[in-house]
Structure formats: C-alpha cells, structure tokens
C-alpha cells in the first residue's frame, strides 16, 4: 500500500499518476486492438458496460446493504427501451441523447417499483423477491409478442440503430485527421466517458449526506430511523439510483450489439454482476471496478486459452473450454472468499473490520 499512500500525500505524484492513467485509458483500444485483435476490443467495451452495472448494483448492495438478485432487469429495461425507440421494429428512430436519459429514468422508475413493496424486507427475503422480479421482467420480455407484438418475444429485436453522436455513426470507422478510427474504438471512448461519469457520481454520493444515510441503514436500520433518517425514501433512492445506472448501461448495450433478446438478461447475469461487487470489495469503488474488469476479462481468457493450453499439454482438448471456464470461475470465487473475505480490494475500513474480527 506504500505506493498508494505516496499518491495520497504528494500532489505531484497524484497528478502524474492521473496523467499516466489517462494516457493509458486513451491508448488502450489501440494497444488492445493492434496487439490482441478486435475480439478483445469488444471484450474491453463489455468490461466498461459491466463496470457501470457493478457500480450501480454497488449502491444498492454495497452502500445500502440491500441484497438484489434481479439487478439485470434494469439493464434489460434500458436495453429494450433503446431497442424499441431506435429500430425498424416500431419504425422509431430517436436520437441517442434522448433515449439514454429516458432509459435511466425508466429504469429508476422500475427501481422504485421494485423497492416500494420490498421496503420491510432484508437479507434472504429481499433476495428472493428481487430474484423473482428479475425473472418476471425477463419472462415479460419473452412473452410480450402476443396479442400485441411489443418485444418480439424470444426472437428479440434486431436491426437496432447504432449509436450516433453528432451525426456520426459509431458503427462505422471514422476518419479523423487522416487517421481511420475503427468502430469499436468509438464505442470504447463513449463507454469510457459514461463509465467515468458514473464513477464520479458514485464517489460524490459516497461522501455525502445521502451516502452516509445509505451506510447507516446498512449498519442498523432502527438506529438510522432514530437518527431522523426517512429510511423509506432513502432506500427507494438507492434502488432508483442503482437502477438508473443499469438503465444507462442497457441502452448502450442495445446500441452496441444492434440486437437484444431476453436471453441476455438471465439470472446468471444478475449473479455475475453481484459477484463483481462482492469479489471486488463491496462498497469500495476501486474494488468494484476491479471486480468488473476481472470478471469480464478472466472468463474470456479461459475461453480463449483453455483449448490451446490443453492442446499443448496433452496433445488434445480433454475438457470443453466452456465447462472448464465455469469450473475455474467457481474455484476462483471460493479461493477469494476464503483468503480475502472482504474482497480483492476492500476499502480501508472494511479491511480493518475483518482484521478486527480476527483479533
């Protein structure tokens, strides 16, 4: 931690590190795209989407302590709103700057819809209800194709408009000062900008009156009430804020993929996002970001690497890489929870908390 401590105490070191990080983030798509190929660039774009999702869920689970197993529903709401408002399905082609905020708002509204009836629930009970909520949304999307075809059912909606910024479509390579910038780079920068915005908002919220109220509810709801916190409103606010981040990520996902179907919003996805939060370090923003990156990138490494490595070692592929991937993933989860129960990168207080218990 001495490196981080140095950053904290020296303005110059902090400035230098920020500059370096900024340059790295700006150059990353070129490094990855040229070094590893476009499929990895896509994974990078997805990592940014998952970071947004993990940060949104972190508000609900990490700050307010409300276990939500249906979080992916808000991602679905954002994605389907984009798909319906910018595709040939209804013949609507609204601009992205209108849809993304609308997606955030609608997802936030769904967050309140989920939060309102579950205010009295905590822990296991809340987990079951939210799990049901996530499934209900997915099943609705799957079945809202008759009698009136709204979501096009299990086939999903295809041909979704790519995201256009200032008349430039991100789906096509761009010419810029004589350079050709591939489409995936454009998406990368857009996602990065929004992810940074969400990081900024989350950090600001964490160190505020509202953030403290969330943590207070997590720690002791009755004491929080006695301190004058309107727990109902503050909890609903957590649900709405978290959901709205999911809605933003969902809209971007739809524009990026040009296709959405209910399959993308399964329970497994909710659990994956939850794992990012828990594994990274619940309630600690850098940890959650790390969790988002690792859990997007590592499974892909297994997927791409497991086959060739087996080929090299044994001369043939013994285990299906897909099955092996989940196996290793489960193993990694167990190892982390055993050796780093507070997450890979917990907040300093959380770390103290676990050390304190061991004393």
């Amino acid at each position: 931690m001495s490196f981080l401590d140095r950053l904290r105490h020296s303005r110059r070191a902090a400035l230098g590190a920020t500059l370096f990080l900024g340059l790295l983030l700006a150059a990353l798509p070129f490094l990855v795209g040229n070094g590893l190929g476009n499929s990895w660039l896509r994974i990078l774009d997805f990592a940014l989407l998952y970071i947004m999702l993990a940060l949104g869920l972190n508000i609900v689970v990490g700050f307010a302590g409300l276990l939500d197993l249906g979080y992916i529903a808000f991602y679905a709401v954002g994605a389907y709103l984009y798909a319906l408002l910018a595709s040939p399905h209804f013949g609507l082609h609204l601009p992205v700057w209108a849809i993304i905020p609308a997606g955030a708002a609608l997802a936030g509204f769904f967050g309140i819809l989920l939060g309102a009836p579950t205010l009295r629930l905590r822990g296991d009970y809340l987990a079951i209800v939210t799990l049901g909520f996530g499934e209900i949304v997915r099943i609705f999307l799957n079945n809202l194709n008759a009698p009136l075809n709204i979501t096009n059912g299990p086939q999903g909606i295809s041909g979704i408009d790519p995201i256009r910024l200032g008349g430039v479509s991100l789906a096509r390579p761009m010419e810029f000062l004589g350079f050709t910038i591939p489409s995936l780079h454009g998406y990368y920068y857009l996602f990065l900008a929004l992810a940074l915005l969400i990081v900024f908002v989350t950090i600001r919220l964490e160190h505020s009156r509202i953030g403290r109220a969330w943590v207070a509810i997590r720690e002791d709801e009755i004491a929080a009430k006695a301190c004058g916190i309107n727990t109902r409103n503050i909890k609903l606010l957590a649900f709405a804020m978290g959901a709205s981040f999911g809605g933003v990520a969902g809209g971007l996902f739809a524009g990026f993929q040009a296709f959405v179907s209910p399959e993308s919003f399964s329970l497994m996805e909710s659990i994956m996002v939850l794992c990012m939060v828990v594994l990274g370090g619940m309630g600690h923003i850098p940890g959650v970001i790390l969790g988002g990156i690792l859990l997007t990138v590592l499974p892909e490494i297994f997927r791409h690497g497991a086959g060739p490595v087996q080929q090299m070692l044994f001369g043939k592929v013994l285990l299906d890489p897909e099955a092996l991937r989940m196996l290793l993933f489960g193993l990694a989860l167990i190892v982390v929870m055993l050796y780093r129960p507070a997450g890979l990168w917990p907040s300093p207080t959380r770390r103290r908390e676990f050390r304190g218990d061991a004393r």
Binding site: L205, V215, A216, E219, A226, C227, G228
Partner: protein, 256 residues
C-alpha cells in the same frame, strides 16, 4: 432544582398491548422543559416500551403524546427525531462499521438538507453544509470526551466510549428531549460517575433528559422527578426523596 419550566412532553393514558400482555396501562406522565426525569421500575415494567412508543418505533393502542405543543405522530421515528426527540438504546445500537466521527455525522442528517443533486454537483451550499456537519460532529465528540477516537470504527471503541458515542450521535440531532435507555448499564463506579457529570452538563446546556436506569443511586442523585412503572402502570411520580419512601415502590421492587 425541581424544574419550573413549561410542559415539554405530555403523555396521556398511553396504552400498548403485545398479544395478551398489557405492556403499558394508561400511562400518563408529563415532563417539564429543563428537568432530568427518571423512569424506573422492575424488569418488564414497560419502561423501554414507553421509550419505543415515545420515539415512534411502536404505535400506541391508545392515548396520545403531545410534545412541545404538537401531537406526536405514531410509528414515524424519523419525524419524532425531527420534532426534537433523540434516544439511545439499552443494547447499544451504533453504526458498527462506520467511524466514530461518521456516526455522529449521521446524526446531523435530520437537520441538514443536501440531496443527490447537491452531493453530485457539490455546490457552495452543499460544501458549506458538509463542513458544518463535520465541525459539529467533531465538537460533539469533544463534548463527550472521545475526540481522540474520531477515526476508529465504532465497534472498536470500549464499552463506555460506545455509550458516549451514542449520546453524541443523539445530541447531533439537536434534541429538545434526550431519552437515555439504561446508559449506566454495565459501567463501573468511575464510569457511572463520569456519565453523571456528562448528563448534568447536557441538562445545563438546555436539553431535557428522560432517563431509564436501574442504578438507583444514580437515578436518585441525578433526577429532579421520578416515575415508577410496575406491570405497565405508573404507580408513583414524585421527587426522588418521596419516591424512595413510597410503600408501593418498595413493594414493587422487593415483591409482595
């Protein structure tokens, strides 16, 4: 020292029932501004139930509570806090994984206003408010003599310091009435003596104190008036010297 202040809390025929148990039977008591009012009684007499009704955690089955001239709304703890009632808990309820300072800062919630927009934009008003919250919280930690533990997690504080922190958090809500539920429980004689000085100081600074306590010596030495509950009913209310000699009180404590 008997308080000649105006009426701060007027509880009239408050009743509360749990299943077949009548926890409070038409309890009426009135607390005047500026006094230290003791509420005593054997275990299970209904003291904590009265606290919970008073602070909005329970809805009373009957009766009403008028606080500072206004009816208290049932089952709305955050509104009770806003009206000026703060409390501590018999089994300490701190925000265990927040620092001592943060615990007190949460107490300022009800007197501050910044919302999501303020938090994100951090405009001048929000920054000023946040600085004031921190300043006040630091002052209060000083006030209860645990300023040196400001950055420690609440759960790592010693038992006595946790009690003090809970009082500081309650005071952060700027109460008119501070309700302390057995603050001296588990304390040794020295700590109890320090607590007594603290409570007297709080009263001197203009906060009325309602005290549930088992330590008879503390109650008798500290309180201006004492009410005794037994089986959910008030059996006596007077200055300590009179209460101590009341045959009903002696019977309640020593058994018939």
């Amino acid at each position: 020292m008997s308080g000649g202040g105006e009426l701060l809390l007027d509880a009239r025929r408050v009743a509360k029932q749990f299943g077949g148990v009548q926890a409070l039977r038409d309890v009426s008591l009135s607390i005047r501004a500026g006094e230290i009012y003791g509420l005593i009684g054997p275990n299970g007499a209904g003291k904590t139930t009265f606290f919970n009704v008073l602070t909005g955690l329970y809805t009373p089955d009957g009766g009403d509570l008028v606080f500072a001239g206004r009816e208290l709304q049932a089952s709305a703890p955050h509104k009770a806090a806003a009206q000026g009632i703060a409390r501590t808990f018999q089994n300490i309820r701190l925000f265990a994984n927040m620092t001592a300072l943060e615990n007190v800062m949460v107490g300022r919630h009800v007197r501050t206003r910044a919302g999501v927009l303020g938090a994100v934009l951090r405009d001048r008003r929000t920054r000023a408010e946040e600085a004031a919250i921190r300043r006040r919280a630091e002052e209060l930690l000083h006030y209860v003599h645990i300023a040196d533990r400001a950055d420690d997690l609440a759960k790592h504080l010693s038992y006595g310091d946790q009690r003090r922190l809970e009082i500081a958090r309650a005071l952060a809500t700027e109460p008119k009435l501070l309700a302390l539920d057995e603050p001296a429980a588990g304390m040794n004689a020295t700590e109890t003596g320090e607590l007594r000085v603290l409570i007297e100081g709080i009263r001197r600074d203009g906060v009325t104190v309602l005290l549930i306590e088992h330590d008879v010596k503390l109650v008798m030495g500290l309180c201006d008036r004492v009410a005794v509950l037994d089986y959910g009913a008030k059996i006596c209310e007077d200055v300590p010297a009179v209460v101590q000699k009341d045959p009903r009180v002696i019977e309640a404590y020593l058994g018939a």
